[in-house]
């Protein structure tokens, strides 16, 4: 395989393309909204109109405006139709010169689309995720070739370091530093692992990337393997994402067939075997040492660090673990250069971030924006505000490890440090908007219940602490708490945060602490309710 072979594939792809192509979103959201029958309707309409030589239908990935699915887009022309029903297919196929007026349209020039900036999602909604030829025609695997042929592994690590890319899984550790640590370990068996155990409830970025453009992730992993000297890798994907698993497995098979994975990639000494490992439903497996235990086939419980996986990971060997979105940024960094990437974003947070915007928001869906944009721009301009016009009360980021940012702080720029200052975290990218009907004590209880159920039980602060915290929240939320309960809640939060073994327990109190910080009155009003009832204090009936 040579670049000329890639060019040949791309050329064949262009030559076989028909003058008009109707793209149908085949990512999970649109599929559940009925995209499959829309696709069949379009094909029937094309066949009946005798247009098979001029019009084709292609399955593409996420077009982002998930709440308005099924989405389809006409190319050329660019008309995007939303909430398409199969019976509208003939009208869409017949609409050659002007858009079909009777079908609802999404405006690609509206703020939701125009304010976004794409690196990771550049080809999402355009590339056909199940056809490697389509990925190659859009430039796929060129960066891998460039890295292998034109750069030394050390130069690749240097480039990633210079780009300023930080881990997109949530913690924001500098990616280049992690790569350098693994690369510096003595030569021998090393692994690359893609963490696709997207466990945060309310987050679906990684799922969309895997379903829409799996080859971008594979290419990023292959570049990483070259840079750190690994020859085997795993993608650890949640079992709840069957479509992502299926597309990844096909992508790996296709890449092997073309010699872009496997033995002697691009006729170089680089070998890389990639396997998909399916998570069996345990939130803690997103923690890297628990993930390693799960790949090894055991209970997914974390262990103390150090040693970090970069030194001692899978089967005790040096292991590079990055998130899906982190890997998906790599081809662009190598292809366009670190300086280009570093020019996007803020001083300490470079590049873009993909968010899954959901909850009480008009335009729920996938959003990729440069770091440093304010929450207000994301929620009000791109997201279109709350659907019923109710005032927005808070934005939740970081899932069960994050916090609720109140409306008065919506002008905060989205970067790692600014969110941390507000007691939340960037997280993997879930962004849930809450309006004034949301009860913040109940939100804290919801997340604590999640952490209580998902605690693996290995360390006591998390195993017992989350149960006690949940009990206190039930008691306060139910109007049975008093001031001492509130004090207990706060001191127990500090204890669980400081003494838990892994990130799950260490961050489990965050939603409580952040709602206490910004919505303390909601807690206190419950206490007052109790005193007005003048009921005698009883022992907590824990739930």
């Amino acid at each position: 395989m040579e670049p000329s072979d890639l060019d040949a594939i791309a050329e064949r792809e262009r030559a076989s393309a028909k003058p008009r192509r109707i793209r149908v979103c085949s990512a999970a959201g649109c599929l559940s909204a009925g995209a499959r029958s829309v696709r069949i309707g379009l094909e029937d309409a094309i066949a009946q109109g005798g247009l098979a030589d001029r019009v084709e239908v292609s399955d593409v990935g996420c077009m982002r405006l998930c709440c308005e699915g099924p989405l389809i887009q006409d190319d050329p022309g660019g008309t995007m139709y939303k909430r398409v029903r199969p019976e509208q297919a003939p009208a869409i196929v017949a609409a050659f010169d002007a858009p079909a007026a009777e079908v609802d349209q999404a405006d690609p020039k509206s703020a939701f689309f125009a304010r976004q900036f794409s690196i990771v999602l550049q080809n999402s909604g355009v590339v056909e995720p199940e056809r490697i030829e389509s990925a190659v025609a859009l430039g796929g695997y060129r960066a891998l070739h460039h890295a292998i042929r034109e750069m030394t592994p050390a130069q690749v690590v240097q480039e990633v370091t210079a780009s300023g890319l930080r881990g997109r899984g949530g913690a924001g550790y500098p990616t280049g530093l992690k790569w350098a640590t693994v690369a510096k370990m003595p030569a021998g068996r090393k692994f690359v692992v893609c963490n696709a155990d997207e466990g945060d409830p309310g987050a679906f970025m990684d799922r969309s990337v895997l379903e829409s453009d799996p080859h971008r992730v594979l290419e990023g992993m292959a570049i990483a393997a070259y840079a750190v000297g690994a020859d085997q890798g795993y993608l650890y994907v949640r079992g709840e994402y069957p479509l992502a698993i299926q597309r990844l497995e096909k992508a790996i098979k296709d890449a092997k067939r073309l010699g872009l994975l496997g033995t002697g990639i691009f006729d170089s000494p680089l070998n890389l075997r990639l396997d998909v490992r399916i998570g069996a439903g345990a939130f803690v497996c997103g923690e890297e040492t628990a993930l390693i235990a799960s790949i090894e086939g055991g209970r997914g419980t974390p262990r103390p660090r150090p040693p970090y996986p970069a030194e001692s990971g899978l089967w005790g060997e040096p292991t590079l673990i990055n998130n899906v979105e982190t890997f998906a940024n790599i081809p662009a960094i190598i292809g366009k250069g670190a300086a280009w990437f570093a020019s996007i974003g803020t001083e300490r947070s470079k590049g873009t971030k993909v968010f899954a915007l959901a909850g009480k928001i008009r335009n729920a869906g996938l959003v990729e924006v440069p770091m440093g944009l304010s929450l207000r721009e994301i929620v009000e301009e791109i997201g279109g505000g709350s659907p019923e016009g109710r005032p927005i009360k808070a934005v939740q980021t970081g899932g069960p490890s994050g916090g609720c940012i109140p409306a008065e702080h919506l002008d905060t720029p989205v970067d790692y440090e600014s969110l941390a200052r507000l007691g939340s975290i960037m997280g993997s990218g879930g962004m849930i908007v809450m309006d004034d009907t949301t009860d913040m004590v109940d939100v804290a209880k919801y997340f604590m219940k999640f952490c209580m159920d998902e605690s693996c039980g290995k360390c006591i602060p998390c195993r017992a602490g989350t149960v006690q915290l949940h009990g206190l929240l039930e008691r306060i939320g139910g109007g049975r708490g008093d001031r001492t309960d509130l004090a207990k809640l706060e001191s127990l939060c500090d204890m669980v945060k400081a003494t838990s073994l892994c990130g799950l327990g260490q961050s489990a109190p965050n939603p409580v602490l952040s709602t206490l910080r910004f919505f303390r009155s909601e807690y206190e009003s419950r206490l007052e309710d109790r005193s007005s009832e003048a009921a005698p204090a009883t022992n907590s009936p824990r739930g």
């Binding site: 999970a28 399916i278 262990r303 849930i432």
Partner: protein
Amino acid sequence: MNAPPRAPLPPDGRSGRTSNAAEPHPSGDPRFKLLDAALKRHRRRQDALIEVLQSAQELFGKLDADVLIYVARGLELPPSRVYGTATFYHMFTFTAKGEHTCTVCTGTACYVKGAEQILAALEDATGIAAGRTRPDGRISLETARCLGSCGIAPVVVFDGGVEGKVSAAAAVEHVKGWLADGTE
């Protein structure tokens, strides 16, 4: 801090044992043959335990003690390790599912859009708590952490079919349809 004990297997991807360690299952149940095929497909590698358990659950619908012991023998693992792993993960079940399964997503986006009310209505309509199966075996009611379809929240899955923007009334109507017509 010492590194934890490692799973005792060479990670070179080629050294899976080929000998058929497990005896044929005495029941003669043909599904054990298919389970054998799954074991073989994973070259009896001990690190494929979770994948093998997933295949077993697909075949049998649940993980009974004799299936777990069969897997333990097939992978030459202590039964305690197999049981410990199987009980750790939410996706493994040890009781039979009902004819129909209704799964309510309880992710954050669904939560703020009223998943709890939907779940309460379904518990009421089916007469069972979340996580249970009706005594007559007609319906299992389950919850999911997050199905990643947050753009169309709230989401309910009826027998594998994901439906978005579901109201409590519509969900109840759907399961009542199951109860009225057990054969569908």
